[in-house]
Symmetry: C2
């Protein structure tokens, strides 16, 4: 069964609405009597027009494995809690003024508010994951969180280093993005009581989707339009992060071109001319095209993992949505 | 059975050594292959000469309830992980240069390193608590974490407000300090499979001890010597935090004195003369003495909770240590 993009959009919106209901209910209970500003910062950060892709993957994975009930949406909410907590802390670290086209929490409130409200969401997310998926789920989830932190450290160590390799890049994005998306799928499957093969298949699907998602994100940092993405572009190069388009361009460059690119990477990266020059190098050396092909390749691998469910007619509509989602990731403009 | 201060010191050092072993083992396994800087920041922050009071309470509570084995020390380590994570984030928020007489992580490394390594410890602590004490322990632990965040928000809201009440003060310190110490006791008891009455008695004991500990901490912020405490003194007044000595002094003051104190609280609190003047008011109005009496009262209440164990001879040496600990809290100078 194939699902068209309208069907996917409807399903994403349906799950998002149910997850947002679950979030509001959970927060109303948990933050009753709490400081009003804490509640405001948490709600401001959570309800910011995100598509709730991680919760969507959690819910769809559980459905693929035959379970769908009210608590599933609270478990799915936990994934958005953690994702939001990490964004809040990332924005503090990056001094980012904008996210999804509006002020970040650190910009609108304060450093203190963003750090602490992020910690609140972190604690709450782990509680919910432990409650609904036990020690096994907690292990998956905490490993993802720990990996995200490690990915940030590795990324920082490689910052501005023109020798950063393709292996380094994939290690970083697997930890920074792939693992939490993979966990979203694994937790849904664990919640549904799926066997190890199904849990692993969905986890690997999620990892492939997550990596493809991040490759596209890194492409959009060069080629996206701020009006669509809601983020400033060109950040990665400016911060010295070598992402796949640039790594591929460096690999394809002649020694003379490499030398020029190295100078741009190690020089003043805030100059608009440096940004334009590096972008021209990547374009002419096929870096954007090559990175896009890698995203396509990850998606193909991810789709292969879903074959396990082909013998199960009950899973078919849900698998169709997971398949359709991969198409969206490749063509997204924001 | 009573325990003298030498017996207490020996027991605290013995538990600390075993907990530190457990931490090193856990970190070696968990951070193998991780970024070397992440490991360095985590270890720098954890191994800073702390007395491991929270782990001590966890271990002693489990022993009171009849269980003592290797995993207990890993569970106890989780309490130090969370405590350290909150200190790291607090130091980021407060721009604190020193803690326990040496550079804070944010000062020595960076904002990013301190926030992220704190997140790593947070995730790891919750995983261990979930693993060893299940959903019930996770609930206790996450509630404490969420409460700590809320306590920070409430404290900030009351900052510089001379009308902050005694009730406000106790609500804040119960959340900021009391709950995690209470959780340390409760988790030890839960780990030992204790009945509800024992879990609650130890939890209440811990809450009383935690509140007394914080009252003494707030006293030392006025009356302590930096060479002993390793922290700058006078921070609370400077930041506009109304702690118990000042709240009690305000309550005992004449209208004219209140008016003068209000001016000091709402004026430029960074002036050394303002600090000296408020300290003289607190002294002459009996604020320090009155706060010390409250700490004593909390300790007496806490000790009363241990009566439940008096019929159990096997618990006696452990109860004796918990009793002795309360004496240390009241007389500590750092």
């Amino acid at each position: 069964m194939t699902t068209d993009s309208t069907g996917l959009k409807t399903a994403v919106a349906e799950v998002a609405a149910r997850v947002e209901n679950a979030m509001r209910k959970d927060l109303a209970g948990r933050l009753a009597g709490s400081d009003p500003l804490l509640r405001e910062v948490v709600e401001y950060s959570l309800f910011s027009g995100g598509k709730r892709i991680r919760p969507f993957l959690c819910v769809l994975s559980a459905r693929c494995c035959g379970r769908d009930d009210a608590d599933l949406y609270t478990l799915a909410a936990a994934l958005e809690y953690l994702h939001t907590a990490t964004l809040m802390h990332d924005d503090v670290v990056d001094h980012a003024p904008l996210r999804r086209g509006r002020e970040t929490a650190v910009q609108r409130y304060s450093l203190e508010d963003a750090i602490l409200a992020g910690d609140w969401l972190h604690a709450r997310s782990l509680y919910l994951v432990g409650k609904f998926t036990g020690a096994e789920g907690l292990d998956v989830f905490c490993s993802a969180t720990e990996g995200m932190v490690n990915g940030e450290f590795v990324q920082k160590r490689l910052c501005g280093d023109y020798r950063a390799s393709e292996e380094d890049y994939f290690a970083v994005i697997t930890q920074k993005t792939g693992n939490l998306i993979a966990s979203s799928c694994a937790l849904g499957a664990l919640y549904a009581g799926a066997d190890r093969a199904r849990v692993q298949a969905l986890q690997r699907y999620g990892e492939g989707v997550g990596i493809a998602f991040q490759i596209v994100d890194d492409l959009l940092d060069y080629t996206g339009r701020q009006a669509l993405t809601g983020k400033e572009t060109g950040n990665d190069f400016q911060e010295g992060k070598l992402t796949l388009p640039l790594i591929r361009a460096l690999a394809a460059a002649s020694p003379a071109e490499q030398e020029e690119m190295k100078k741009l990477i190690e020089g003043d990266r805030t100059r608009p001319e440096a940004r334009a020059a590096i972008q021209a190098f990547i374009e002419s050396l096929g870096g954007f095209q090559s990175a896009a092909q890698s995203a396509q390749h990850c998606v193909t691998e991810a789709l292969g993992k879903l074959a396990l469910f082909s013998a199960d007619p009950a899973a078919s509509p849900h698998v169709g949505l997971l398949q359709a989602l991969t198409g969206y990731i490749l063509v997204r403009k924001k």
